[in-house]
């Protein structure tokens, strides 16, 4: 539909969103992994838009296609919490405030 303009690349040719320095608040993202961040999804609010997956710097999120939530969407989930830095980027970009992050 928008092919007349600059085509949207389907690769990651958009610069990788850098790890969020601004969420460095008290914890700081200085490369050290923080133990056991908590990433909680209010799953029934999720619309499967994948923005959280797009901005996650450590790629620990994915769409769970094994089930649908009460709204009929495939919800996003953390599938690899061990690699999660607790940066909160996913929660920040989620338009529906689905995600709570603690660390």
């Amino acid at each position: 539909m928008l092919s007349a303009l600059n085509p949207v690349p389907h690769s990651d040719s958009l610069p990788q969103p850098p790890a969020d320095a601004a969420s460095a608040s008290a914890g700081g993202h200085d490369g050290k992994r923080v133990a056991n961040p908590e990433v909680i999804f209010a799953e029934d609010l999720c619309k499967g838009c994948e923005l959280c997956i797009f901005v996650c710097p450590t790629k620990v999120l994915k769409i769970d296609t094994s089930r649908v939530n009460r709204r009929g969407y495939y919800p996003a989930i953390v599938y690899n919490l061990a690699e999660c830095s607790g940066c909160g980027s996913c929660a920040k970009i989620c338009p529906d405030s689905v995600i709570t992050v603690r660390r």
């Binding site: 303009l5 969020d20 619309k47 969407y73 940066c87 529906d96 405030s97």
Partner: protein, 248 residues
């Protein structure tokens, strides 16, 4: 455990009706967080537009008034002139602000009304099903420019920030986006500054937020973010166009 991010209490519990990945939800959050952080939620009055965000009065935890299409700056003027110590903001899309409401936004800026306006620019009319907007890009197909917007007959996109920045009584005019986390953080800083301008009674402040409409652009939400970078930013450069505090 320290909270890194949680839902703002500036928002209600009502689930938002916006399409998946629509940036309205993100912008709503940035405003809600700002109102809480500035501790003004209890004296805020929001003016809602006609457009996808017509139901914004269900999502924000403050008093609000639904305005007729395009008239939010006039409604906000009426409220602010009666309640000068309240925080009054208008939230408008590109049809509301740049088409039917062009006179109202220009004159609210001209009068230097001490209000804050958040302008959500997604280059299309979302709620009504994808018609051309004043901010639609050249060549962009919409339901009322099926061959792509043509300069001859349909004109070229309107740069609202650049126009409004020429008005003397404006205090802060800036264009931001929310398509990456750093840009989102920058948008939040701009929104906070725009509300601070009102608190400091410095005049009229407007933040234009480049936004997506995945449904009517025919793109996935993530591709829509990329489209902002590839196509909107070259036409609508980000930056500060007016700042009475001298910032840039």
């Amino acid at each position: 455990m320290k909270v890194v991010y949680e839902k703002s209490r500036g928002l209600t519990d009502t689930p938002m009706h916006y399409c998946p990945g629509c940036t309205h939800g993100i912008i709503h959050k940035l405003i809600a967080e700002t109102l809480v952080e500035l501790d003004v939620l209890g004296r805020t009055v929001m003016v809602c537009p006609v457009g996808c965000a017509v139901f914004a009065y269900d999502y924000f935890n403050c008093d609000s008034q639904e305005a007729a299409h395009g008239r939010a700056p006039a409604v906000a003027t009426g409220i602010k002139r009666v309640l000068p110590d309240n925080v009054v903001f208008a939230y408008q899309g590109d049809g509301d602000l740049a088409s039917i409401g062009m006179a109202e936004i220009v004159h609210a800026a001209m009068r230097g009304e001490n209000i804050t306006v958040i302008f959500v620019n997604n280059a299309i009319y979302g709620m009504t099903g994808g018609q051309m907007a004043p901010t639609t890009l050249l060549g962009q197909p919409t339901t009322t420019s099926p061959a792509g917007r043509a300069r001859v007959g349909q004109g070229a996109p309107l740069r609202v920030c650049e126009m409004l920045a020429t008005i003397d009584a404006t205090a802060y005019i800036t264009r931001v986006s929310v398509h990456t986390i750093p840009r989102l953080n920058g948008a939040k800083r701009a929104i906070k500054k725009a509300f601070q301008m009102q608190l400091d009674r410095k005049g009229f402040a407007l933040v234009e937020v480049l936004s997506t409409c995945p449904t009517n652009w025919g793109l996935t939400p993530v591709d829509a973010l990329r489209w902002v970078e590839q196509n909107m930013i070259p036409v609508y450069p980000l930056g500060v166009f007016k700042d009475v505090d001298g910032g840039s």
